[in-house]
């Protein structure tokens, strides 16, 4: 298993390297650029040339890439030009990472906690009202665009009803102590309960918006998978043994039905990053999703490179974890 993990990690480095070449070329082929973003369209050619030279953009592309790579190897991804000019791009990423992890984790917990029990029940009571209505809800979940849903939730629950905060991660008046950058966790560690609760309240709407697609997908996979497992001979064997419903459900149905679900959850964690770009923007959440949107608007090459490469690395890493987890659940994978 250890050798397998090492091999996969080496593969991951390869993936990120190849992606970095493509990304580097692609970003610079886009119309506009950091110079236009910073100076506007009316700048004189002289000032443009000066800034280009300062940012190193006057050099040939391959040289820019080699420079980028050699500096990146020592953890220096260059300074931001647009989001927070002058600040190290990696620092921007690391500062904003906890916000996105907190949001994604919360969204995933909501999605999984709802989708798996509901998927199981829908399969068990196939054709019932619960089954049909769950399918409709999950269909709406995938069909409604995330940004629309985010705006809708914000409008109804924050702006009209005032039940939940409109945006941000914490209310301005609170003087909360920062420890880890995960605001809810920080509040719990420092026993600042009001800060923890406030951070949680800020999480609810963006997390719900972000959870809809993973919920819908995980629900459908769970339902289909449970339906398939219920028809298996070993479930009949378990019934023939007179086992209790609890044991049949947990040990014989769900344990087998979870195999495809685990894979799906892994893929959905990757997809969460895409959803986070939209959700964080609507709720000004201050995570890497929002940073990605901002840096794109300003053609902040340094920040974009860090964020996209990191996102790719996270995606590969999550899928590696899923594969390892799969082997833990399914003994047939282990011995192969």
């Amino acid at each position: 298993m250890a050798r397998y993990i090492v091999r996969r990690l080496i593969q991951m480095v390869g993936v990120v390297l190849v992606l970095s070449v493509l990304l580097f070329a692609w970003l610079r082929s886009l119309p506009g650029g950091p110079v236009s973003a910073l100076l506007g369209e009316r700048a004189t050619p002289e000032t443009r040339a000066a800034l280009e030279a300062e940012l190193g953009l006057d050099q040939p592309l391959w040289m820019q890439y080699v420079k980028f790579l050699s500096r990146a190897a020592s953890g220096n991804f260059g300074p931001s030009t647009g989001v927070l000019p002058g600040t190290d791009a990696l620092k921007i990423f690391l500062d904003r990472l906890p916000a996105t992890i907190e949001l994604s984790l919360f969204a995933m917990i909501i999605a999984v906690a709802l989708a798996i029990p509901l998927g199981y029940l829908a399969a068990r009571r196939r054709g019932s009202a619960l089954d049909t209505s769950s399918i409709v809800v999950s269909l709406i979940g995938v069909a409604v665009p995330v940004f629309f849903l985010a705006f809708l939730l914000k409008y109804v629950f924050a702006i009209e009803l005032h039940w939940l905060p409109v945006s941000g991660r914490q209310s301005g008046g609170l003087d909360a102590t920062r420890v880890t950058g995960f605001f809810v966790l920080d509040g719990l560690i420092t026993r600042e309960w009001d800060a923890a609760l406030d951070a949680l309240a800020h999480l609810v709407l963006p997390a719900v918006a972000l959870a809809t697609i993973p919920f819908a997908v995980i629900f459908r996979i769970t339902r289909a998978s449970v339906l398939e497992v219920l028809d298996e001979d070993y479930v009949r064997t378990a019934e023939a043994k007179g086992l209790t419903n609890r044991v049949i459900r947990g040990r014989h149905v769900l344990r087998n039905a979870m195999l495809p679900v685990v894979t799906t959850i892994g893929l959905q964690i990757g997809a969460l990053l895409a959803g986070a770009v939209l959700t964080e923007r609507v709720f000004s959440f201050g995570g890497i999703g929002e940073a990605l949107a901002l840096s794109f608007e300003q053609r902040d090459y340094a920040v974009l490179q860090v964020l996209i490469l990191a996102a790719a690395a996270i995606y590969v890493l999550v899928n590696l974890i899923v594969d390892v987890l799969y082997a833990v659940i399914d003994p047939r994978v282990r011995t192969r």
Binding site: A240, T244, N256
Partner: protein, 370 residues
Amino acid sequence: MSTAASPPDRRHPTAPADGPAVHDPAAAGRSDATGPLLSVRNLTVRFRRQGEEDFVAVDDVSFDVRAGQTVGLVGESGCGKSVTSLAIMGLLPKRGNTVTGRVDFEGIDLLSLSPRQLRDRRGRDIAMIFQDPLSSLNPVVPIGVQVSEVIERHVGLSRAKARPQARELLSKVGIPDPDRRLSEYPHQLSGGMRQRALIAMALACRPRLLIADEPTTALDVTIQAQILALLKELVQDSGTALVMITHDLGVVAGLCDRVNVLYGGRIVERADRHELFATPRHPYTNGLLASIPRLDAPRGQRLSPVPGSVADNIPWDHACAFAPRCDRPVAACREVTPELVTDEAAPSAPGGLPRALRCHHPVEPGQESR
């Protein structure tokens, strides 16, 4: 209407007087000393079909199993034998079918029990083993857990206390190195080992009745013989009654005391094993016997299979369902539904159901096509 009680209008010749072997009546537990352990009466299972008439999979089937006895349900695929066993166990799908009749086990009608009451009996009083050992075992749960969970459930032992018993069971069913096997998974065992493990699970709580649904069909021929020998030994030792569901009369010959031959969801012939092999009366039984390959047959002699196959919906209305495949049909076979007629002269069943036959033109002794 009860076929078992219908008056005999045709006398069968007396068959060899060799009653069913009751191995150990004392092992029957709470079972009545004289009555049968399992008494199935007029069992009928209908499956609802969309836009079509119900499909009658099992039609008015009655048979008895006495404590310690081995009873065969014999027939081709689709004859209703597996559905019969699932109906007895209460394992048919919850929706889409209706089950009528009585299934008395130790005097209690299983069909009238609540799911919870039935659950308490399954695995403890009545156990079942299935056809395909690989698909019948949970692929992601160790063998040891799959054996001990039955003991945990019905005896109320903890996992740790049930484990030595599970180990004991595995060694009893002839699995070598049971300690290692306990923590292994089904895919790590051979086909024969898997079926042995399933038998261990079924016998874990010393049930009084075991239903085996084609337990050897998915196995190699050499393994088949081993598993049958094991089953025979185990039921004899423990006094467990066995309902053997099979299409293989070879299995019946080696194992069963009583035999019920099913065709199209109905019993067409019921007899003691020796009578059945000595004087098969129904043309279908006769055909099944003739289709068994024989080592003493002259070289070059062709096997004689029963022609055709069980039709999708077998018409017993105003005809004999077997008539289209029968080698000796008469006019009545296509006009009148044959009734199951008992032969009370046959001394075969002390206390059980007598020999019976459903045929207008039965095979006479000496006419067997063998």
